[in-house]
């Protein structure tokens, strides 16, 4: 589902964020990406839909080349990649439903959408996604009146509205009260199990990653330092990923 080869990302002037990443993720996997901050987790996720432009290497998602895709083609590929962010990234002044509708933008006719009009089918679909995360009753509430956990659920609904093949989640629970971690991770797990979507989730909490993921990928200094099932992640490996030795 995701094929990454030789991915390098260098930020000007000379910060190497990713230093040669090779990774293949199969359909339906739930991959947790671990690593210290600055290890390249966020850059890796953001380069998969080219919110960050790769310096070198190739990326394919759902059978299509992300790297080298032209503007229109890139938009079509992005439709298939839902993304959830640490800070939710909702439009604060818009309603929950309007935020979820943004997930349909890649599909709806361009001109009416700019005027704020969406086909009825897309509205229904967006409402359905909001119901799926348990927030149908908040459809008309302004996003900034919702709690952090609710905002992140709206953001997940927005990603689902894209009818994606892959969902990327960048530290989806890091801005939330720890007690809310499981509610968000449960929703992501349900998406993974019930809809067969491929998930790549970066996590700073080791225990959470072990509890939900089917596969752990550990980043260290811009490279993949560990790749295996949760059961293979021994304390020694964890120290290697998180440790402060060279």
């Amino acid at each position: 589902m995701i094929e990454v080869a030789g991915l390098r990302v260098v930020r000007p002037p000379a910060t190497v964020a990713l230093d040669g990443v090779d990774l293949v993720v199969g359909r339906g996997e739930f991959v947790a990406v671990l690593g210290r901050s600055g290890a390249g987790k966020t850059t890796f996720l953001r380069s998969l839909n080219r919110l960050v432009e790769p310096t070198a290497g190739t990326i394919r998602v759902a059978g299509r080349a992300v790297t080298g895709a032209g503007t229109a083609e890139l938009r079509e590929i992005r439709r298939q990649i839902g993304m959830v962010f640490q800070q939710f990234n909702l439009v604060r002044r818009a309603s929950a439903l309007e935020n979820v509708l943004a997930g349909r933008l890649g599909y709806v006719p361009a001109v009416p959408s700019v005027l704020g009009r969406f086909p009825a089918a897309d509205r229904e679909q967006a409402f359905g996604c909001l119901a799926q995360v348990g927030l149908a009753h908040f459809a008309d509430r302004r996003a900034d009146t919702l709690s952090g956990g609710e905002q992140q659920r709206v953001a997940i609904a927005r990603a689902l509205a894209q009818r994606p093949a892959v969902v990327l989640a960048d530290e989806p629970t890091a801005s939330l009260d720890p007690s809310l971690t499981s509610s968000i991770m449960d929703i992501l797990k349900a998406i993974n199990v019930e809809h067969g979507l491929t998930l790549v989730v970066s996590q700073h909490q080791l225990e959470t990653a072990l509890a939900y993921a089917t596969r752990i990928v550990g980043f260290r200094q811009g490279r993949v330092a560990f790749d295996g099932p949760p059961s293979a992640l021994t304390p020694a490996v964890a120290r290697m990923i998180y440790g402060d030795g060279p």
Partner: protein, 246 residues
């Protein structure tokens, strides 16, 4: 460094006082003249009240129409001169043109437009449009540059086009700011428009200048009082509206 800066500033100030002939003694000697001027304005001649009110209405109309047209004209300019939504090839020329046009004040524009289209409120409207468009464009572009990039990332990730990103991630964030800037400009334009009549561009300034020339101080004081009342009413209304926007 600091000491040298303070010394330089003091020298500069001393030179400015000398070069402008700023002289407290001369000001003190002028006080009786000012008092005499005020005494001769009393009591205000209320017979010119209808003329003063008509002039005030024209001034408000000039400011309202000019600000409204400028608020719309400034939109494309504001986005084109915002670094984060416009490529450098467009951004730099747009900024340069704006900075050049903004260096000319409303009153100077009024002189030009009176020469171009003749006397009356119309050149006043044109002058307000010319100056306000550039100053609002500058304020708009700063608002656009100050947005939270998170929603832009999120909407970009859905596969939206540039225009859709603008509509769904940028505009909802800046619209309340834009409206508040427009109201703020309206307040300053009311004040600017009061002197437009001095150069023949219509409004209450025409009456003030006429009565001063005729040495009819009681009439002039009525016009002044109407001006003050008009500015206060507009300021109060506008700031109440602005409070509601935030």
């Amino acid at each position: 460094m600091t000491r040298a800066a303070i010394f330089t500033a003091l020298v500069l100030l001393a030179w400015l006082v000398w070069d402008t002939g700023a002289d407290p003694v001369r000001l003190a000697r002028g006080v009786p003249w000012i008092l005499d001027f005020i005494r001769r304005m009393m009591p205000p001649d209320l017979r010119v009240l209808p003329a003063a009110l008509a002039g005030a209405l024209t001034t408000v109309e000039i400011a309202l129409l000019g600000t409204a047209v400028a608020a719309v004209l400034a939109l494309p300019l504001g986005f084109l001169s915002a670094r984060n939504v416009t490529p450098g090839a467009v951004f730099y020329p747009a900024r340069a043109v704006l900075n050049f046009l903004r260096s000319v004040d409303t009153l100077v524009y009024a002189l030009i437009f009176v020469a171009a289209v003749g006397l009356g409120p119309f050149p006043g409207v044109l002058a307000v449009v010319a100056y306000t468009t550039t100053s609002l464009a500058k304020l708009y572009s700063e608002a656009v540059e100050g947005i939270d990039p998170g929603p832009v990332d999120a909407v970009t990730a859905t596969g939206a086009t540039r225009l859709q990103i603008l509509r769904y991630a940028v505009i909802p964030q800046v619209l309340p700011l834009f409206l508040s800037y427009v109201l703020y400009r309206l307040e300053s334009n009311i004040r600017a428009a009061t002197v437009l009549g001095f150069v023949g561009a219509g409004g209450i300034g025409f009456y003030l200048q006429t009565y001063l020339r005729l040495i009819d101080y009681p009439a002039a004081s009525t016009v002044l009082l109407v001006t003050v009342a008009m500015v206060m009413v507009v300021d109060a209304t506008s700031s109440r509206l602005r409070d509601r926007l935030v």
